[in-house]
Every structure is written in structure tokens, then in C-alpha cells.
């Protein structure tokens, strides 16, 4: 049956299982929008194309399905770049569809023409320019397959206006992907398994470093079984949080720059690192020269290009984490490693006395208290917390105890401010039954707060907790530590966030004292629609501990003990 490119586009999306697409129309994508009315796909109109990509990303991370974002050519397409790079660095499967000027005027600097496949080449897993309707169906099938297989990532499909308008015979079955060079399904050699098992057998002080790959692979129960059977403690990356329940006795918590002291000390003291679906990012290793120098290293990773990139490893097992662990588990011996875990518990005790939770209520509001109270109120439920980037993000990672995978959505690799609100919209669309909370700084919120309109228009119940300290807090913290408190361009003049919420018809609550936190959270949860909570917290609070960039992982700046008030209160 003959169909136009525009019709083929929507039909292919439907056949790929897409139910929602996040987009913004414009000239070069208009033929596609014209055909939208015959599609079952629900289109979410965003307020900025960056928002569309973050929504697709949040949708993918919350639900595990490919997210779809749509934009027009030129500025529509370039506005997507930040969201695409965000998805790339965090291995999130999204497909971005962009309109392109007519194939006959490509290269002529036509109105709203940009070379978006050229621009996005380094930040996509793969991308396509479709100039002829005949190529469209196969290209879309390939795009979804590439996005979701192997190490997931963003794929962009740029479709010229004439390819959308012209027609061809549409045959889904015949349009099978043709990817002779693409091999996402690698598996280790038997010898590599033997070497890994031998290292685990011999180790007295092993630690598992658990990353995002565990969630992408769906290897949660296999990881848990490995840790329990062999008595191996588990440290998590930021994006790994939730892959093992925070309450699990072997869960140490987050490692790295703002990881708890005992976690980083454990890594430095270990004789074996078992890295599972993580990539030794500089935020988790600190100075590579001094990183876990006494430890052998096993790296289980789906992307062969990550092996020996940052940290040289002794054994690499390349392939799907879940499949690899399933081969290994029957050969994992139960070994008593209580001496090692007791040693770690001792480290833990030292840190507990410095916990800000032990600070008596002096009438001041600390972000850590807000997040800890939010966790206490919402624990046990099907909750997704979506954070932005900065101090609040690290406090969330430290004080919100994630028990389940896909319950924390955050921009890790790229560190994209403005991510939280749109990503939360995507998460809520993917999992409407879940309770979704945005935890966002006053800086990042202002980058994409235009999407409040999208939230209201889609009638989504998402609560927004602004951790409002009147500063670009993390940058201020770096200025405090490394630039002699020279607070250039970090104090923020903020609008009245309550009034902004009012303008969108969003209920809002301002909180200035610790005792008001719980009632405010309860009230927000009970309300039918979205609620914006403006938490006015201590302005110059600091995320501790901190491994300064370039320092060894065990050289941390610690919260002073006994705990003192921040500078402003002295």
C-alpha cells in the first residue's frame, strides 16, 4: 500500500511500540505533523526542544523503553543538542526525529537549514539523513534497534521535507534493518571467565563497583546474588543507585567525589575491584595514579572501548552483564569475608558522627534535612526522584535512600543543568502510577522552567522541590575551596517562585524552617495536581565529603567535626 513519508513515520513509531512522543512543530517537519491526526501516538507539545529531548530521556530511564523527541530543522534541531549529549553520556536510548529542508536545497543555506547530522555526529550513537521516502522505514527500524541494543544511546534521524511528502509502497516486513557492521552482542571467552573467577576466589578484600549498566542490563538480582554468596560489599556510582537496595547489608553507598568517606576508603584498601557496568569516570576514581593501587581489577562491561580507557584492568569480560553473571554465579564459592566487612563497618562508624542529621534543630533549614525528610515521607512507595545538577543532586544521592532501580533519574555524565523538570515530565508519562518528585536547584530550575506549561497542559501530577539557596551552589562551593571565596557570578537574583507557580495555576508552598518540611511534603502529596515547594535553605552550605579534582580518592575534605554552623551563622 502506498503511503507518504509522514504516514510511514508515525506507523513505524507505532510498530516500534511508541505511545508518546515529545515534540515541537516547525516548517520542515510540518508534513509529519499533518499526518499526526491519524496516529494513535499521544504527542506532548513542549516549550523548547531541549525539553523534548530530556523528556524522551526521562521517559527512557523511567520505563526502559526508547523515548522519542521530534523537532523541526535549523534551530529546532540545534536546540536538541544538549539533550542528545546528555543521553549519550548516560547511555540512554532515545530516537530524535528532525525535519530537514528539501533535498534539492540541502547545502544552499536555505531558511532554517543546519547540518544536524554533522553537528550531532560526535554526540549520537549513530545518525541518519533520509532524503528519499524509500529509505525511511528501514532507517527508522535501524534507529530504534541501534538505540536500544548493546550499550544504549541516542540516534537521530533527519528527514527532508520532500521525503515526508512523497509516497512509496510501505512494507514493514521488507524494511528489515541492514547493519552488517553492528555487533552489540559480544560475550567473553571461557579463559576470561576462569581468570575472573580465580581472582575472586583468591581475594580477601574485594569490592564490587556497581554502575548504570546493572540497571540497563536488568542484572539486579544476579548482582545481589553474587554479593551475598561471596560476601562482597558493593559501592555504587551515581547512576547505579537503586541497582542494589540502599538498605541491603552489603550496600556501602555512593563512591567518588562526594561519596561517603568509608566507601572511598574501602576502594582504596581493597585487593580486588569488580567493576560491573561502570566506566571508571573521573568523578569516581579521583587521581588515577593513586587509585586503588593494591587492587587487581575485573571489568565487566558491554562496551569494549571502555576497557583500559581510564583504569588498566587485569581481566575484562565484555558483554551483557546479566548474561555474564549468570555464567559466573554457579561457580562462585561462598567465602567468609567477615574480617573485611568488619573493617569497613569500623570506617563507617567514624563517618556517622559527622552526619548532618545529628545537628540539632537550630531553626536553620539544611538541604540535607529536606531531602532526608522527603525520603522518610515517601519511602516504600513507587517513587521516582528526578534531580538536576549541583549540590542538591549530591545531597539527594547521599540522603535519599534508593531501594529500587529506576527510582533516581539524574544527569550524571554530562551534568546538564535544566534536566530535572523536563526529565520528570518524561518519567511521569512513562510511569503514570509512580509518584514523581523533581529535586532541583534554584539555578537549574530557571534554565527549563518554561516546561511548567507542559506539565500543566498534560495534567501531570509531579511535585517540584526547589532547593533554593540563592547561589549556583556547587560552583560557589568550588569558589569557596579553590578560589578564595571569590564568589564571581554565583549569587542569584531569583524571581518569586511561588508567583511563577501561580501564573501556571500550580499550587505552591514556601518552606523556611525544618519543622515545616514534613507538613509541606505531606500536603503536596495529598494535592491532586502538581505542587511547587520552595525550600529556602542555608545559603552557604557545603557538600561533604569532597574529593577535590586531581586528589587521591582517600584525600577527602570532610565536614568539620564537631559539626559547626555554616559561615553565615557564625
Amino acid at each position: 500500500m502506498k503511503k507518504t513519508g509522514a504516514q510511514i513515520l508515525w506507523e513505524c513509531l507505532e510498530r516500534e511500540g511508541v505511545t508518546h512522543a515529545f515534540g515541537y512543530p516547525g516548517g520542515a517537519i510540518l508534513p509529519a505533523y499533518d499526518a499526526l491526526k491519524h496516529s494513535r501516538i499521544h504527542h506532548v507539545l513542549v516549550r523548547h526542544e531541549q525539553g523534548a529531548t530530556h523528556m524522551a530521556d526521562g521517559y527512557a530511564r523511567a520505563g526502559g523503553e526508547v523515548g522519542v523527541a521530534i523537532a523541526t530543522s535549523g534551530p529546532g534541531a540545534t536546540n536538541m543538542v544538549t539533550g542528545i549529549a546528555t543521553a549519550m553520556l548516560d547511555s540512554s536510548p532515545i530516537v530524535c526525529i528532525t525535519g530537514q529542508v528539501g533535498s534539492r536545497v540541502i547545502g544552499s543555506d536555505a531558511f532554517q537549514e543546519t547540518d544536524i547530522t554533522g553537528i550531532t555526529l560526535p554526540v549520537t550513537k549513530h545518525n541518519y539523513l533520509v532524503t528519499h521516502v524509500d529509505e525511511l522505514a528501514r532507517t527508522l527500524r535501524e534507529a530504534f534497534y541501534v538505540a536500544r541494543s548493546g550499550r544504549p544511546g541516542p540516534v537521530l534521524v533527519d528527514i527532508t521535507k520532500d521525503a515526508q511528502q512523497s509516497s512509496c509502497e510501505f512494507d514493514w516486513e521488507a524494511a528489515k534493518p541492514q547493519l552488517p557492521g553492528y555487533r552489540p552482542d559480544l560475550s567473553p571467552a571461557p579463559k576470561e571467565y576462569e581468570q575472573a573467577l580465580e581472582l575472586i576466589r583468591k581475594s580477601k578484600r574485594p569490592v564490587i563497583l556497581l554502575g548504570h549498566g546493572a540497571i540497563e542490563s536488568g542484572a539486579m538480582s544476579e548482582v545481589r546474588e553474587l554479593a551475598e554468596r561471596a560476601g562482597i560489599p558493593v559501592a555504587l556510582t551515581l547512576l547505579g543507585l537503586g541497582a542494589l537496595p540502599a538498605s541491603h547489608r552489603l550496600n556501602l553507598g555512593m563512591m567518588g567525589m562526594h561519596g561517603e568517606a568509608w566507601v572511598n576508603h574501602t576502594i582504596q584498601e581493597a585487593d580486588l575491584l569488580i567493576a560491573l557496568g561502570m566506566r571508571f569516570d573521573d568523578r569516581v576514581t579521583g587521581n588515577l595514579k593513586t587509585y586503588a593501587t593494591n587492587a587487581k581489577k575485573i571489568h565487566v562491561e558491554i562496551d569494549p572501548a571502555e576497557i583500559n580507557k581510564n583504569v588498566k584492568v587485569d581481566v575484562a569480560l565484555v558483554g551483557d552483564l546479566r548474561a555474564i553473571l549468570r555464567v559466573m554465579l554457579p561457580k562462585i564459592e561462598a567465602i567468609d569475608r567477615s574480617e573485611w566487612t568488619h573493617f569497613i563497618d569500623h570506617l563507617r562508624g567514624d563517618s556517622a558522627v559527622r552526619d548532618i542529621q545529628n545537628l540539632p534543630d537550630t531553626g536553620h533549614l539544611y538541604a540535607a534535612h529536606v531531602i532526608n525528610d522527603l525520603w522518610r515521607e515517601t519511602r516504600g512507595g513507587d517513587v521516582i526522584v528526578v534531580t538536576d545538577v549541583g549540590q542538591h543532586q549530591m545531597w539527594e544521592a547521599q540522603y535519599y535512600k534508593h531501594e529500587t532501580p529506576r527510582s533516581l533519574i539524574t544527569s550524571g555524565g554530562l551534568g546538564t543543568m535544566g534536566f530535572a523538570l523536563p526529565a520528570a515530565i518524561g518519567a511521569k508519562v512513562a510511569r503514570p502510577e509512580a509518584e514523581v518528585w523533581v529535586v532541583v536547584g534554584d539555578g537549574g530550575f530557571q534554565m527549563t522552567m518554561a516546561e511548567l506549561a507542559t506539565l500543566v497542559q498534560e495534567k501531570l501530577k509531579v511535585n517540584i522541590a526547589i532547593i533554593n539557596n540563592g547561589f549556583l551552589g556547587m560552583v560557589r562551593q568550588w569558589q569557596e575551596f579553590f578560589y578564595e571565596r571569590n564568589y564571581q557570578a554565583t549569587p542569584l537574583l531569583n524571581p518569586d517562585f511561588g508567583k511563577i507557580a501561580d501564573a501556571y495555576g500550580i499550587r505552591n508552598i514556601t518552606v523556611t524552617e525544618r519543622a515545616q518540611v514534613v507538613p509541606a511534603v505531606q500536603s503536596a502529596r495529598q494535592h491532586d495536581g502538581p505542587v511547587l515547594l520552595d525550600f529556602k535553605v542555608e545559603q552557604e552550605d557545603t557538600v561533604y565529603p569532597m574529593v577535590a579534582a586531581g586528589s587521591a580518592l582517600h584525600e577527602m575534605i570532610r565536614r568539620p567535626s564537631p559539626i559547626v554552623e555554616t559561615a553565615e551563622d557564625e
Binding site: L121, K176, Q178
Partner: protein, 183 residues
């Protein structure tokens, strides 16, 4: 050390850009890159030489494989192979020096492909050292212009490249519902 990669890629628009962009953004320094057709119209073949240590070379290979259009990568640095570069050299040849220049061309088995009153063009094929050697001895006469193709390489012996073997044993359609392992 200089590593030589033979890279088979799908013959599609933009593939050269993808490969070049990869080397740029991963900060690998290309010494030479050539690309051309192969015995199969749908496949192009690149020869890339890069200055890299052992670990870097492995990562280059792994990163090349991450490009969806890359079919096969062979690092033939340590394998017996024929490696050739082609140069055309326009050298000043006035009647005083002409016979010396022609003698040198003959010693290096370069072919004279153009003769003009004040100059001549010679064509030479060989490994890079041989061409460098000819350039060295021609320099005193005055090199007016020079162009080199960059190297192409092929493994010695009757064994076909592993690409040819892989292509014969693999279905072309990979992906979707009928995913197959391709190598």
C-alpha cells in the same frame, strides 16, 4: 609506534567523516589515511596509520567498531604486509642537472612521467622510507612540488582478509526481530 589499520567500511555518504571525527574527538593523531573502493562495490577500504602505543591501538580498534558503518578492523602492524605509498615529485631539471636527476630516478626505480624544459615529474611507488630517501637526494636540485597518496597496505600470502571470510559466512540482514551475531 606507528600502527597500521586496515578498515573495511560500508560505502555510504559520510562514513569518512565519521572515521575522521572519531580520531579527532578521541585525540588520536592520524599520520596517514587513504580510502578507496574494493572488490565489492558496497564496501570501501581504508588504510590508516596512527602513532599509538599498544593500549591506545586496542582502544582505537574498539572505538572504530563502535561506528555502525565499520565492518571490520585489522591491525596489521606486526604482520607481514606490503605497504606502499605513491609520490609524484616535480623537480627542477635544467640541462646541467638533468642527467644527474635522471640517474637518481633510475636508481630509485622512479618513472619519469612528464618532461618540461626546466623541470620533470617523476612518479615513485614504495614504502615511505624509500620515498623519503629519494626526496632527500633530490632536494639539492630543487623540489618544485610534491604530492603523496598516503599508504595503502595488504597482508602477504594467499590467506584472504578475515573480512572476505566473514562476509561469506554471515547474513547481511542483522537486527530487528531476527538478530544475528555477525562475526
Amino acid at each position: 609506534m606507528l600502527n597500521t589499520f586496515v578498515v573495511y567500511v560500508e560505502n555510504k555518504p559520510g562514513v569518512l567523516t565519521r572515521v575522521a571525527s572519531l580520531f579527532r574527538r578521541r585525540a588520536f593523531n592520524i599520520d596517514s589515511l587513504t580510502v578507496g573502493r574494493t572488490e565489492k562495490p558496497e564496501v570501501s577500504r581504508m588504510t590508516i596509520t596512527v602513532d599509538a602505543d599498544h593500549d591506545q591501538a586496542r582502544r582505537i580498534e574498539a572505538n572504530l567498531y563502535k561506528l555502525v558503518n565499520v565492518l571490520l578492523v585489522e591491525n596489521i602492524t606486526t604482520e607481514p604486509a606490503i605497504v606502499r605509498d605513491l609520490a609524484m615529485i616535480k623537480v627542477a631539471a635544467t640541462h646541467g642537472g638533468r642527467s644527474h636527476v635522471l640517474e637518481l630516478a633510475s636508481v630509485f626505480r622512479a618513472r619519469v612521467v612528464d618532461v618540461a624544459p626546466e623541470s620533470l615529474i617523476m612518479e615513485i611507488t614504495g614504502d615511505e622510507d624509500k620515498i623519503d630517501g629519494l626526496l632527500e637526494v633530490l632536494r639539492p636540485y630543487g623540489i618544485l612540488e610534491m604530492v603523496r597518496t598516503g599508504i595503502v597496505a595488504m597482508r602477504r600470502g594467499s590467506k584472504p582478509s578475515s573480512f572476505a571470510r566473514a562476509a561469506n559466512s554471515t547474513s547481511q540482514a542483522v537486527g530487528g526481530d531476527d538478530v544475528q551475531q555477525s562475526v
